[in-house]
Symmetry: C2
């Protein structure tokens, strides 16, 4: 028989998979002697078995009953007793933290009878009835599925009738009548609140299991890449009460500041309250110490002031837990009549900034090794740190200020409804989600937004925690905001902002601005720079950048790129003085005329390259020769047809013969252009006349480009600079294409070097972006000195997806339907496209020792793809300049997890 239940005193604190994160933490803490209320954990295996069998697995209930017996022994109380009742909480706890996503029920064990026992035992009738009405409310909602509002409306009605505002001001009789009303609500749904505690427990366990598959949990897992077949553990913990008077309370504490990473206990607490009151963000919590104070609670006394002893104890526990787990902890605690209980500990979520600071500090404090520190930061966090900031030179006046809950700035349209946010973001709109407060039901809307702004809640409120985890800028508890959802606007400091209006939020300062304030991209420095230097010491993959202009190359260098993996030359032909010459070249009817036009472009290309080489002194620069189809340099058929129609109108209105002649000439010019454009038209341009196909049919184009490269290199070398040009041919599918071009272009390069009187070491290589090239990489490597995988096109052709069309037509649906795990244009498809990358790399490296192999598709900046490229034996990845820091970390993490050699 499988064992499904573990007491906290026996469970293996390392086995989160089996016991869930919360359960493992409770076991571990119990076993190292911390003040944890007695309890036990039902395993995730039981949960999965539950789904398999469609009911509680065999033997589970017996084990639970045995464990309850032990609990009764340990606490000296009795489940359902009228004299000394044992109350328990039933808490979900998955192996990977999913905060607020699943259900919890408190005060289980209370019945019409035992509530009297509890009143007697505690000498606090008010507390007993309050606990009972809370149970009825939670159980009704979680187990029976009765809407929250039904209960709240009842309570509001009583408070209104009595003219009171806070729950705590209700009388015992109010609570008793509330319990009666709540039971009537059950009746309306044809339910009955079970008076047998075992029945309560059994139904609650089932409900927690079921909550694994509720909608918001599923969405959360999808967003966070958590598998569906893990299940949640269930923790049954004997209740301790933070709501037993002013010597009681409950709170949350981080062992270090989760916003900035400073080494300081940080948290909030509420006097005379149960745990859910803190998380829900309804009452304003007190800071636990001076350091933790916010604008909202600056005037309230701290826990350190109110309960110095318990605070000291908490400090000791925090230190002990951090040392034990060797990472920053997020601790839930309750004080029951002056006694501190620890209800949960887990690795604390933190902002990107905090993550980096804590990792660096912990290395310097001797807690962890550098390699461990590198694993403590996610590439996404590095991305967040490079998120835009408000441009300090821009003029702007704040219209509101709230808590700076998650750093970074964002601009977007105000949207109040999460569903609407999702719909609009699918259309490409940038959204700022504005809510009174957020609940787990809003998670998809938050994910779809650029940033989050709430009127209520503290630094540990739902909105704050989730936004930090998502790396999205957020301002919470912005009390100035008066939100009028029905009329679709909010007001603040005399300004009205309607739904759809643009606002800017600064999650680093907590300030809200009307309109779109200019943002700037940050630079590397401080802790982040330090950790990325460690990444550089660790990683096996080289990191280069894709850059089309010398400015981009400069940015890439600043972010730590070790070369340019892709410089596209076509962008150099689009300048206003160049485009007409390019068009002249395309319109030319003979090689001679084409060469004439190309000669005019030559000095322009040369000067581009000179600047490029100067910027990248000492580093390799891969220049890709012309790739796109020629029609991209010409106006479209539609444009030309319109222009011709307009000219015809002009002709009709012409007054003189001379005027007519001028217009007629223009028309015939446009018609000639239209002929060329029509001739160049292709049904599938993606698979058409471009890349090396152009270079072979019109050899003069690549000739000019190679001449420009060699002349530029010669100029820079004469200045005494070291440069490493690499000439790259796009769209090779057959070795003979490359051979033909290599033979011709090395001759051109040789002649040019002779003219310049300079000997330039350069490499000649190819993109691998056509499936056939990867499959025949052994042949191609005999000619190419380097490969660069163009995984964008390779993905298009390997899947048969047109990137321009697929997304809207079916690809997004495919991801939703889980036909595809991920968008293969964002993260490389390891099984298919990746297989070609592997085949190409292996065959290529076998055929030519020292073949340089890299990747320059957008996957080069995606952490999951980087891991795959590391595993596939590539030499480097090349990505956009702003993703270089992310790639540096991802590459280091890949090496740590899968050391090469």
């Amino acid at each position: 028989m499988t064992k499904y239940v573990y007491m906290f005193t026996e469970g293996d604190g390392k086995n989160k998979m089996l016991l869930g994160g919360k359960g493992a933490g409770l076991c571990e803490m119990t076993q190292i002697g911390l003040p944890v209320p007695p309890g036990f954990t039902i395993t995730t295996e039981a949960c999965m078995k539950y789904f398999e069998e469609g009911g509680l697995p065999e033997g589970l209930w017996n084990e639970v009953q045995a464990a309850m017996k032990k609990l009764e022994e340990e606490t000296g109380k009795k489940f359902g007793s009228e004299e000394n009742p044992l109350l328990v909480s039933v808490r979900s706890g998955a192996p990977v933290s999913m905060p607020g996503m699943m259900d919890t029920i408190l005060n289980l064990g209370l019945t019409d009878k035992s509530v009297l026992g509890l009143a007697q035992q505690t000498g606090n009738e008010w507390f007993a009835w309050d606990a009972y009405r809370r149970l009825l409310q939670m159980f009704g909602n979680v187990v029976m599925g009765i809407p929250h509002e039904d209960f709240e409306k009842r309570m509001d009605a009583i408070k209104r009738k009595k003219g009171i505002k806070l729950d705590v001001n209700m009388s015992v009789n109010d609570l008793k009548s509330l319990v009666r009303d709540y039971k009537r609500i059950y009746g309306r749904y044809s339910y009955e609140f079970p008076q047998r505690p075992e029945e309560q427990l059994r139904l609650s366990i089932r409900a927690v299991f079921e909550s694994w598959n509720n909608e918001r949990a599923k969405v959360y897992r999808q967003i966070n890449g958590i598998p569906d077949d893990v299940g949640t553990a269930v923790n049954i913990v004997s209740m301790v009460f933070g709501n037993m008077g002013d010597d009681s309370g409950t709170g949350v504490a981080f062992t270090r500041d989760p916003r900035l990473g400073d080494k300081h206990l940080y948290g909030e607490f509420l006097i005379n309250a149960q745990g859910e009151d803190v998380v829900a963000g309804i009452r304003t919590p007190h800071a636990i110490n001076e350091y933790s104070k916010q604008d909202t609670n600056r005037s309230l006394p701290t826990m350190e002031e109110i309960m110095p002893e318990q605070y000291a104890e908490l400090l000791r526990v925090a230190e002990l837990l951090e040392k034990h787990y060797r990472d920053m902890q997020d601790i839930e605690f309750t004080i029951e009549k002056g006694r501190l209980y620890i209800l949960q500990t887990r690795t604390g979520k933190r902002t990107a900034k905090a993550a980096v600071k804590i990792a660096v500090d912990m290395v310097e404090e001797g807690f962890i090794e550098k390699r461990e520190a590198l694993m403590r930061i996610t590439p996404d966090q590095v991305d967040t740190l490079l998120h835009p900031q408000i441009d300090p030179t821009a003029e702007h006046t704040a219209i509101a200020k709230g808590l700076a809950a998650s750093p970074g700035a964002a601009v977007g349209h105000v949207i109040f409804d999460p569903e609407k946010a999702v719909a609009l973001s699918k259309k490409g709109e940038k959204i700022i989600l504005v809510r009174p407060e957020t609940t787990p039901d809003d998670i998809h809307g938050m994910h779809a937004s650029e940033g989050i702004l709430t009127a209520r809640g503290g630094m540990t409120s739902h909105a704050a925690v989730v936004a930090r985890a998502m790396g999205k800028p957020a301002i919470v508890g912005c009390a100035e905001l008066e939100i009028h959802m029905e009329e679709s606007y909010f007001a603040s400091r005399g300004t009205r902002i309607y739904e759809g209006d643009l606002i800017t939020i600064d999650g680093t300062t907590g300030e809200v601005y009307a309109g779109s304030v200019p943002l700037i991209k940050p630079t590397l420095s401080g802790d982040l720079e330090k950790i990325l230097t460690w990444a550089d010491e660790t990683r096996a993959l080289g990191i280069r950048a894709n850059a089309d202009t010398p400015e981009q190359a400069k940015t890439a260098r600043e972010f730590g790129a070790e070369g340019i993996g892709l410089a596209r030359t076509e962008h150099m032909f689009f300048g206003s003085e160049r485009l007409p010459i390019m068009q002249e070249m395309i319109m030319a009817q003979s090689r001679k005329d084409r060469i004439k036009a190309l000669r005019k472009l030559l000095p322009m290309q040369r000067s581009d390259f000179v600047e490029f080489f100067r910027t990248m002194e000492g580093y390799p620069v891969i220049i890709r020769l012309l790739d796109p189809p020629l029609h991209e340099f010409l106006p479209s058929i539609e444009e030309l047809t319109l222009e011709i129609t307009e000219l015809k109108m002009k002709l009709k209105n012409a007054k003189t013969m001379g005027e007519m002649d001028v217009v007629l000439n223009e028309i015939s010019e446009k018609k000639r252009l239209l002929d060329v454009v029509s001739e160049l038209h292709e049904i599938n341009p993606m698979l058409g006349f471009r890349g090396c196909r152009l270079g072979i049919i019109y050899p003069e184009i690549y000739e000019m480009q190679v001449m420009a490269i060699i002349q530029a290199a010669a100029e820079v070398i004469r200045d005494g600079k070291n440069i490493y040009p690499e000439i790259m041919i796009p769209l090779i599918g057959h070795v003979n294409e490359l051979e033909t071009l290599k033979e011709h272009l090395t001759k051109v390069a040789g002649e040019e070097m002779k003219k310049e009187g300079v000997d330039i070491e350069y490499m000649f290589g190819t993109m691998i972006e056509i499936p056939r090239a990867a499959l025949t990489a052994d042949e191609i490597a005999k000619v190419a000195e380097f490969f660069s995988f163009g995984t964008n096109d390779l993905t298009q052709m390997t899947f048969g997806y047109s990137r321009d069309d697929a997304q809207a037509k079916f690809l997004r649906k495919y991801v939703e339907m889980k036909i595809l795990d991920k968008d293969p244009f964002a993260t490389i498809d390891r099984d298919g496209v990746g297989q070609l990358v592997k085949i190409g790399t292996e065959k290529g490296k076998k055929a030519r020792t020292g073949l340089e192999v890299g990747v320059c598709g957008e996957h080069g900046g995606d952490p999951d793809s980087i891991e795959f490229f590391h595993l596939s034996g590539l030499d480097y990845v090349s990505c956009s300049p702003y993703r270089v820091p992310i790639a540096r970390l991802a590459a280091a993490q890949s090496e740590i997890q899968h050391p090469r050699n």
Copy 2:
């Protein structure tokens, strides 16, 4: 030292690679005791060495001199002697026959002095001077490159002056003055005719080597797929003379009729002539026997009548050679003063019809085995036999009749110039090349044409031989034709046909018709049917056909298809009553409305399938569900824009409000359609929203198709027929797509079977046409019960070529430049696309035992590709019905050359 020279008495008659076809034949014939003039062969190795070193290889000349010495000993004559001169011919002879493509020089050894010796020795002054002027002419043309016409003009001038018509009527003095004139022509080009015979020989050998690389030889090799690095042998043969009087002659004989394959000696000869006179087609040759008579020589006496003894000897030699070589031979012979010499034997070229008959006869005569017979026919010949014939029911009157030189009928535009024929055929025009006669220089024009028509030449003329080899219909020696090249027309029986006019030729009867006469496709029967039955006994690959209609399926069955490998269902939606319903489905805004439209299509699809299943009773039928993008069923944006513009004009001219309303409604209807079409527009439709992607996003489409299949199958099964439906999903790239569809569609099929009360065994499988599908075939085979490689799309995506665009833009050039060996859409690219086929087959078969794997791209009917599919372990190929017989033979040949087991 490599041995470069072999006497006919020592060379290995089997080693064609080394000695060339002609040399090996001469060695073989010499060694089996046939009357062959003494001589020797210079190897093909010497030729390749010559190109490598740019001159005669070391030692060759010494060997040649030694061999010449032996020749002098054998013949008792002396090279260059004034008394008893030895004359030799220098003849090219490649390993693979390239008739007329390379050069030959006769009468070598004559000089100003030895011509006198020859005259004395033969007692025939006229003959001696005629031989000398022929040498000057050939040597001048072949070795010195002096144009033919220069010499011919001289001769014509003399003949004109003397008022004579035939060469033989020239006097000795005429010939002597012609020799003087010819020498003067040499002088004009600053050449001199060498008076040292060794010099003549040396230069001639070089010239023959060089002729390996002349333009026409290179074109011939390219067309016939002969490698360039083989080289030609050179044969030095002591001269025998067919032009020594009326007891001499020369001719060509086939051991069986090369037109029809009948077992009868067949040939032509000329009295008092040298070999080139026959081939050149200038004098009308005599038939060698009654059987060989043609319209042109019906009145001339036969060789059998003139030289009965020599004819009997020839018959004996022919029989012996056929027995020796176990195949039909093409023999060149010369009679010198009553003595028969055999100058050459080779496997005779033959028409497709003859090839089949000879192969079948030889099996029945016990000459060869069935497997050998199967190797004697090329798939192209089977294709030729299935070439169109004149529809016997059509009305038509011949405008001319010539020799039926190569069977089959063709329709095309008359073109006189081979260059023009090439240019126009590239544009897709069908051409009939019309020439007075053809020469090796016309080869590319012949290749580009549908058929050939010449005014001159016999059945063994250049035009006849080459057309037969190419399998193209040809009529030669059509003397009625008056061709006026300058004025671009020909006249016959009072009709003028101008260049560009359509004509029809019937190469089976020799008749020419004006205009386009209807053609019909033939059926299988007789010898061809017999040999294809042998092929069926031999082959390992199954042969199926691609058929979209029951009629096509019927044709496929008649041609021997063992099932349908691809029935495309989209063609069933294009009928005039169906298209509007299909459009209604596409325009529908909801699933409900789509289903409504699809329900109307269901009975139509069902009745299609019923007929299909009935036709293919007992055989498998693979039905592919809808594949093309939806916009293919709608009018184009251009059409709609035009229609709307026209409606607007109509609106402007509307006279009443009612009229206006009608037009306005029409406009808004069209605009709605335009919106849908615009929304469906894709940048790269090839990689777009089609195939299973449609089937997944709009599941109701495939639902309806599966319902129709099952209902139809049920109906046919109830009639007591055996059927084997296979349902095929197009465009699968990821196993999850197939899994999703399989789960859903097998449910639909199951429900339908339940309703019908019939249990139908069917298979569920997929096209493999996306590179990713081939790469992950192991995953896909877990879901698919069969694979069918769609090599058309697979080629597009593996190469990144859009079939619609590539041909004109760069693909044709690539083949010309030899970047690609062959058009990969015609013959499978074994290295790239083929690699995916292999990977897919291996992974698939490994993952599922008994997985059925076939191919249904156009490559399924291409012999070279069929060999590859055989080698790759596929189970069957599927091709268009008319290519089924070709595929049957090609599959058998693959098995013979690469037996499976």
